[in-house]
């Protein structure tokens, strides 16, 4: 083994040194020598001092060559973490490596949504994939196809390697494998405090009432609650499909919507209806349950489409489009609104443009964010 001078400033003295003093080579020579129980080789011909490898470095390279060697390369399809579990970080018990969508599942989702024209909601329920993720998958696969068409270079070996290292959710035809929980209820700020709310024993206090208690709204009269109790599905459907307005409490700045029950706030309220049908008539009329589910799903997607169209129409109504002659561009103008809604309670709201009297603009102040806050296409 060639002996090496540690200090790169010194001229090289040993017999077969190349001038490279790169870290890896240096470490290699030193570790390999340090592994031997023999007396350490001298760094210079007439010196008795050993290789100047610190103890810590030695232990590190010993570990990398011993225990850590199995982490160097992965075995396809197996997790290769320090802990030998699905937790990549030994000290953090609260984090685990969760599966990502496999290539097959991703392509299947794209196929369902784009070619078979199935609704995002239905696909989301079927595969147990979040609706936002379904949308993202469609966007990404679309981009991938476009890039392939344009003949751009892709990172295929890299993608394969990553999918070998990370757990993936496979696609098995006919098998209902759930990717993630799709009915996540965001914890609302109003539910943080613990409230002691006395209720008479004779009264049924359900999730609707709990929401009202949290947002300090007065209890509803018995007549309405009994009606709601009779038709829980219809009540929730009206709220989630935007047919009945959400009640508000408070005045002016403090005005806020009454907290709705979890039934209305989860992404797939129609699944509750389906489960309720299954509980009541599922054993006797399973066909009917399925039929109702299909109808409801169609209704939901129709309603979603209607909402989208409304937004689009509103946008078109409020925008004025001008396309000058011999121009590549179309100019779109929208009316500026400076009102209480856009300026906000402090008057500093960024939705309203322009300077406002008595309200200094802090855009030159130190620490103000000057990088873009959003990228619109």
């Amino acid at each position: 083994m060639a002996q090496r001078i540690q200090n790169s400033l010194l001229p090289s003295l040993s017999s077969s040194t190349s001038t490279t003093s790169s870290l890896s080579r240096f470490s290699n020579t030193c570790t390999s020598s340090s592994l031997l129980p023999l007396p350490q080789p001298a760094s210079r011909s007439f010196s008795t001092s050993g290789c100047r490898q610190t103890r810590l470095r030695r232990t590190m390279f010993n570990w990398l060559e011993g225990k850590g060697a199995e982490l160097k390369h992965h075995v396809p399809g197996e997790l290769n973490y320090l802990t030998h579990t699905n937790k990549p970080f030994p000290l953090n018990e609260q984090y685990r490596s969760e599966p990502i969508l496999s290539e097959a599942l991703r392509n299947e989702i794209y196929d369902r949504v784009i070619r078979k024209k199935q609704s995002v909601r239905g696909v989301s329920v079927e595969f147990g994939v979040d609706m936002r993720r379904v949308g993202a998958v469609v966007r990404l696969v679309e981009l991938e196809n476009r890039m392939r068409d344009q003949g751009k270079s892709l990172a295929l070996p890299y993608a394969r390697a990553v999918h070998e290292m990370v757990p993936t959710t496979p696609y098995v035809e006919g098998d209902r494998i759930r990717h993630e929980s799709i009915n996540d209820l965001p914890v609302h700020r109003l539910t943080d405090p613990q409230i002691f709310y006395p209720v008479s024993e004779s009264r049924e206090f359900n999730r609707f009432d709990a929401g009202r208690a949290f947002s300090a709204a007065p209890a509803l009269p018995h007549k309405i609650t009994s009606e709601m109790k009779e038709q829980p599905d219809e009540t929730i459907r009206k709220i989630t499909q935007g047919l009945s307005p959400i009640e508000t409490v408070g005045k002016r700045e403090d005005e806020q919507q009454v907290l709705l029950p979890a039934d209305a706030r989860i992404p797939h309220p129609h699944m509750i209806v389906n489960d309720r049908n299954r509980l009541t008539i599922g054993k006797t009329e399973p066909k009917e349950v399925r039929q109702r589910y299909r109808e409801r799903l169609a209704q939901e997607s129709e309603r979603d489409q209607y909402r989208k169209d409304r937004i689009q129409q509103h946008l078109e109504r409020t925008t004025q489009k001008v396309e000058p002659e011999n121009s590549r561009f179309e100019f779109r103008f929208r009316d500026v609104v400076v009102s209480r809604e856009t300026t906000g309670p402090t008057g500093r709201g960024h939705l309203a443009p322009g300077r406002r009297y008595g309200i200094p603009s802090y855009d030159r102040k130190k620490g103000e964010v000057k990088i873009p806050t959003r990228v619109d296409v």
Binding site: N80, L154, V187
Partner: protein, 490 residues
């Protein structure tokens, strides 16, 4: 910006990096001994350790401005339990008390506690303090690192600054850009391959230099002369290569090819890259030699499907029909379904790239090529059909199994997708860098497409019972004091 993210062995700090030094720090990481220290010391130690990992490139003041004491969290709901009960039973207090929930399965219903297979799940706390550094996960550079497009957060930052990253299709040069839910970011695939691939060794670097030099020399030479020379050389080579192969019997060549393909596909953990590369080169050479026998000169440059069909027809002219037939039968749906798309797309790719390389060649060539490939595939499919109709035509099936065919096919695919190219800044054929798998994890708030190195930031990271989405090497023992440290000023 000076890189302070050094790794010292005396005071090991875990960083957002895939280096082996960092892996060693991670393996030696222990929770600090807090009982003999003051509360202030505990908080200080914790936050300094955590900040070495979370947003080390962000100044403390900047981070303090980003910090929010309110952590986002969600509770996964079970629609079945929501349908069963409207919550009134629980508020009435029935079933609560000393009884264990497992026994009072039907009486008390708590919507917050989803059931698993009819049993009550064990109550798990939501790790709110693990979400302390969640606001930093919105940063573009951190998201790139989390999506596994860069080997460290610093490198991700460099990619952004150097203009290799787009957000929603527009170039974004601010590493501190805070992603909004729904934003799509994309990194140049070449950079990602460089960042995540094994580095070149000395010999490969030299090869790259030589290749570059040659390329520049070639460019300097006269174009016409060069073209003519290239054509001549190609012809000469073809003739040269033809001679030795003619002597070999097709069966033997095929056997040799299979052996090489198998060696390539063998995924041994400690295969020496140099040796592997030799194998690959040999295989490539063998394939080329076989293909050079064909009259069709475009096969070498043309797409994979064509190459494969050509190979099969050339090698076993006698029993070409029986083997692919089996394969077709068995894996017809799977293989074709999976690969048809990629192959088609690749065909397009290859055609386009070929068109680029021979810029002057007319569009006729491309059209011809298309026609040819179409003819070949139809030929092949016809052969398949014939073979399916009368599979007992040739019984010489002991030579090759379907798996072997599949291996050959896969080796060809790998060779095409992952070619040897000394002009690349990473070791070719591409392989993941050492110790990458120990850090490989992708959080759920990102949806990543690794083929195109693009990802969508779906939503902000959230905590859920027993699980926090922010990837962090630190446990509760450090997270809570660090959270309290930042809470102090608010």
């Amino acid at each position: 910006m000076r890189n302070r993210a050094t790794i010292s062995l005396k005071k090991p700090k875990v960083r957002q990096s895939w280096s082996k030094y960092n892996l060693y720090s991670l393996s030696t990481q222990r929770d600090p001994f807090f009982s003999a220290r003051t509360f202030f010391q505990q908080k200080w130690t914790a936050k300094s350790m955590l900040r070495a990992y979370h947003g080390e490139q962000v100044s403390e003041k900047q981070w303090q401005r980003m910090f929010s004491p309110r952590a986002r969290s969600v509770v996964p709901m079970n629609t079945f339990s929501l349908a069963e009960d409207d919550g009134s039973a629980m508020s009435a207090g029935r079933g609560s008390g000393l009884e264990k929930p497992a026994q009072t399965e039907t009486t008390s219903e708590d919507s917050r506690k989803p059931r698993l297979h009819g049993k009550w799940k064990e109550e798990r706390n939501t790790p709110y303090t693990h979400m302390t550094f969640a606001p930093l996960e919105r940063r573009l550079d951190t998201a790139i690192f989390r999506a596994m497009f860069a080997s460290s957060a610093r490198q991700a930052r460099q990619f952004v600054v150097h203009g290799a990253v787009t957000v929603n299709g527009k170039p974004m040069r601010h590493p501190g850009y805070l992603l909004n839910p729904g934003d799509m970011f994309q990194v140049d695939p070449e950079r990602v391959m460089y960042a995540t691939g094994a580095p070149k060794d000395k010999v490969e670097r030299r090869q790259g230099r030589v290749a570059r030099k040659k390329a520049s020399e070639a460019r300097a030479a006269e174009e016409a002369a060069e073209e003519a020379a290239a054509a001549e050389e190609a012809k000469e080579e073809a003739t040269k290569e033809e001679d030795p192969t003619k002597k070999e019997s097709p069966r033997e060549t095929l056997k040799a090819l299979m052996a090489q393909a198998k060696a390539i596909m063998a995924s041994s953990k400690d295969a020496l890259p140099a040796k592997r590369k030799q194998q690959l080169r040999g295989f490539q050479k063998a394939v080329r030699r076989v293909l050079s026998r064909s009259e069709n000169s475009t096969v070498l440059t043309a797409n994979l499907e064509e190459q494969f069909s050509e190979l099969t027809t050339l090698l076993k002219a006698k029993r070409a029909e029986t083997k692919p037939a089996k394969k077709e039968k068995k894996e017809g749906q799977e293989v074709e379904g999976q690969k048809a798309e990629t192959v088609e797309a690749e065909a397009k790719n290859n055609e386009s790239s070929a068109a680029e390389s021979t810029e002057k060649s007319e569009s006729e060539d491309a059209a011809q090529k298309k026609d040819e490939s179409g003819a070949v595939t139809t030929q092949l499919s016809e052969a398949f059909r014939q073979a399916i109709e009368n599979p007992e035509k040739e019984v010489d099936t002991s030579e090759l199994t379907d798996e072997e065919f599949e291996v050959l096919r896969r080796a060809l695919i790998q060779m095409r997708d992952n070619p040897i190219d000394s002009t690349k800044p990473y070791a070719t054929p591409w392989r993941p860098r050492d110790y990458m798998s120990a850090f490989a994890t992708i959080p759920r708030y990102l949806e990543v497409n690794h083929n195109i190195c693009a990802a969508v930031y779906l939503r902000h990271p959230v905590a859920r019972p027993g699980f926090a989405e922010v990837p962090s090497p630190f446990g509760e023992h450090l997270m809570t004091p660090a959270f309290l440290w930042y809470l102090r000023r608010r």
